[in-house]
């Protein structure tokens, strides 16, 4: 998984971002002001950096100059177009405006990591191996055939591991915004995945909430 630097002066938000990223398997380093962040950038290398723009001592716009080839996402309350344009023109890979949903942040982080090829291509646990680049799943080194929707559902749950996803959210993420089917469709597919991969313990049903893949 990726190593991510988070420079954000609001402790609650920094903490929140770090926890959620750690939950899905990333390693995080936090910085409360621009200068600390700059010092950390000098001594360590990262797969991704997340900067607030209005940081004490050094702004996110200044920090991005130090980022080198590392992808950068801005997280900020500045929602004006000019700020977005400035952020993106400075070479940021994405721009997230507060208040944001954690799911959105995670998806964007994943997208940026995928684009910059810093995402793990494979994930292995128990007797399962998932090859993300080939979109294939192996159990005991034998390929298990999943339908495209089943694979999509599995990938979404694994990417957001340890976070509960509601049926509606899963529908939106896997089937798309305009899908108008019954959310019970999810239950059917989940049952299939569980049966094919023997994931009864890892793929939990949460009462009234949805599903969570635990790892």
């Amino acid at each position: 998984m990726a190593k991510i630097l988070i420079a954000e002066d609001e402790r609650p938000i920094r903490n929140l971002i770090m926890r959620n990223l750690e939950l899905v398997g990333h390693t995080c380093v936090g910085a409360g002001d621009g200068l600390t962040a700059a010092r950390i950038i000098e001594s360590e290398s990262f797969d991704l950096m997340i900067f607030d723009i209005m940081l004490p001592e050094m702004s996110g716009f200044e920090l991005i100059e130090l980022s080198g080839n590392t992808p950068v996402i801005f997280v900020t309350a500045k929602e004006r177009l000019s700020d977005r344009l400035k952020g993106l023109s400075l070479g940021a890979d994405d721009y997230i405006v507060k208040p944001f949903e954690i799911q959105e942040l995670l998806l964007r982080v994943k997208a940026v990591l995928r684009r910059t090829k810093r995402e793990d291509q494979k994930l292995a646990f128990d007797d399962i191996l998932i090859d993300f680049s080939a979109r294939k799943v192996y159990r005991n080194e034998e390929e298990v055939i999943l339908t495209p929707k089943e694979y999509g559902l599995l990938e979404t749950l694994v990417t957001n591991r340890n976070i509960a996803l509601s049926r509606d959210k899963l529908l939106m993420l896997v089937w798309g915004y305009d899908y108008e089917g019954d959310s019970r469709t999810i239950d059917v597919h989940i049952r299939q995945i569980r049966a094919k991969l023997g994931l009864k313990d890892r793929l939990k049903t949460l009462y009234k909430t949805g599903y969570r893949f635990e790892l």
Binding site: I13, R19, N20, I102, I163
Partner: protein, 455 residues
């Protein structure tokens, strides 16, 4: 067709001038003609009587009337050389007649003018030689008509010339005189197009320049008004932007932690920590909304003025803040005397002093000193809060009373500030008609002064 004011004046003036000037000239010419005609008549009458008398005397010298005819011929040829034509009649019989054709003998004794052969004649006919003859006298006065015509020609050409000169002069004069009006119009057009810093020229001291001055005053006023509106608008916009930002940060946290609690499989300890974040961030939202309400409340001018002892209030504030000052390692003291009465809203004034003192304490790092002082200057009471903390730059001083402005963003927020304290102080001061001023040296300290006027 739309005429300019100047063109209207031009046309009216020229028309009136031509009318009066020309009718005057014609009246003059006619009068002189008439006068000349009268004097010609007088001369003719005199000449007539001279002729009649001479003829009568000459007739007396002659003994026989048959010789009269000869005499008449002599007279006739003599006078005809001088443009005077005569006829003598005896009863119905013409004795002598060299009158031009077409002249008839008038009945009355007065002189009359007659036209014949394209010439004008003065004709007089009277009986002479005791009624023996009637002498008719006709004098060519065509020269009077000719004179009249000549005079007319001269006058008309003079009138045309004068009119032309007047037309040119009038045009130039009006153009010059209406220049300020033209310029004023250009300025008005400019302003109408939204160019509010356009001004009219104010030269001279006629109505135009007065109008221009008034106009400029109006434009100045509008420009000022617009500028202050713009300024106010900018401040409001900044405040709204800031407010959005201030609300957004705690909202993101609250929502994020709630989602985290709902969706993540986490330990009890982490759960408690997340809940604490939610509570503290909600608290922050609450403080912001309370401060905004306070501000709105004061803006509505709902203040209750009573007589209060300023010294006492200052000592009260010092007492109230002594604990937090001690925690911050700051020495807080009062430099005031009791029994300084002032009309003010007690709660708000205390809030004002406390806010200023809190800010001063925050501005100090450990070992700082904050002094709340009070003195009477002329007709006012000046309450001052002085610290030897970090101070502010002049750029920061400009903005500190704006809502949500922070000189040091992260520090202030971590200490629980909302960024509304000084904005509130400004409102309280304004509501009391007091002046709130800040003097600061960056790195050396700040002095805040509230000046209440004693009414």
């Amino acid at each position: 067709m739309r005429l300019k004011f100047r063109e209207k004046i031009y046309i009216v003036t020229l028309a009136l001038f031509l009318l009066f000037f020309n009718s005057g000239i014609f009246a003059l010419a006619f009068y002189s003609y008439k006068t000349n005609m009268d004097s010609a008549e007088d001369i003719a009458t005199q000449e007539y009587s001279v002729i009649a008398e001479a003829f009568y005397k000459d007739c007396e010298f002659l003994n026989h009337s048959s010789q009269h005819l000869r005499l008449m011929q002599t007279y006739g040829s003599f006078y005809s050389e001088r443009g005077v034509y005569l006829s003598f009649t005896e009863g119905e019989k013409d004795c002598f007649n060299n009158l031009p054709q077409g002249i008839f003998v008038p009945n009355g004794e007065k002189a009359s003018t007659q036209k014949a052969n394209g010439a004008r004649y003065l004709v007089i006919a009277q009986p002479i030689n005791d009624g023996m003859y009637v002498l008719t006298y006709a004098k060519d006065v065509s020269y009077l008509d000719k004179d009249f015509f000549n005079i007319c020609v001269v006058f008309v050409s003079a009138s045309v010339g004068a009119s032309a000169v007047l037309a040119v002069c009038l045009y130039l004069a009006l153009r010059k005189l209406s220049k300020p009006l033209e310029k004023l119009r250009t300025a008005t057009e400019n302003i109408a197009d939204g160019n509010f810093n356009a001004r009219a020229e104010e030269d001279g001291n006629d109505e135009f320049s007065l109008l221009a001055a008034d106009f400029n005053r109006m434009a100045e006023h509008i420009e000022q008004q617009l500028k202050s509106l713009e300024q106010e608008n900018k401040t409001k916009q900044r405040m709204l932007d800031n407010l959005a930002h201030e609300m957004r940060t705690p909202l993101t946290s609250i929502r994020g932690y709630a989602e985290y609690l709902l969706n993540a499989n986490i330990e009890e300890e982490e759960k408690a920590e997340s809940l604490e974040f939610i509570i503290s961030e909600s608290e922050r939202l609450k403080t912001i909304s309370e401060r905004l309400l306070d501000e709105a409340f004061i803006r509505e001018n709902k203040i209750y003025i009573t007589q209060n002892d300023m010294g006492e209030m200052i000592f009260g504030a010092v007492k109230k803040l002594s604990v937090s000052a001690a925690q911050a390692g700051v020495k807080l003291c009062a430099d005031a005397k009791a029994n300084l009465m002032l009309s003010c809203d007690k709660a708000l004034t205390e809030l004002l002093i406390c806010n200023l003192a809190q800010n001063a304490i925050k501005a100090c790092r450990g070992g700082g000193v904050v002094v709340i002082g009070c003195e009477i200057i002329n007709q006012s009471v000046a309450v001052s809060v002085t610290d030897n903390g970090v101070g502010m730059t002049s750029e920061q001083l400009l903005h500190i009373t704006e809502p949500f402005y922070r000189t040091d963003k992260s520090r202030s927020r971590n200490e629980g500030g909302t960024g509304l304290g000084l904005s509130l102080c400004k409102r309280i001061a304004d509501a009391h008609g007091a002046k709130l001023e800040f003097y600061s040296d960056f790195g050396k300290g700040t002095k805040a002064v509230v000046t209440f006027t004693i009414s």
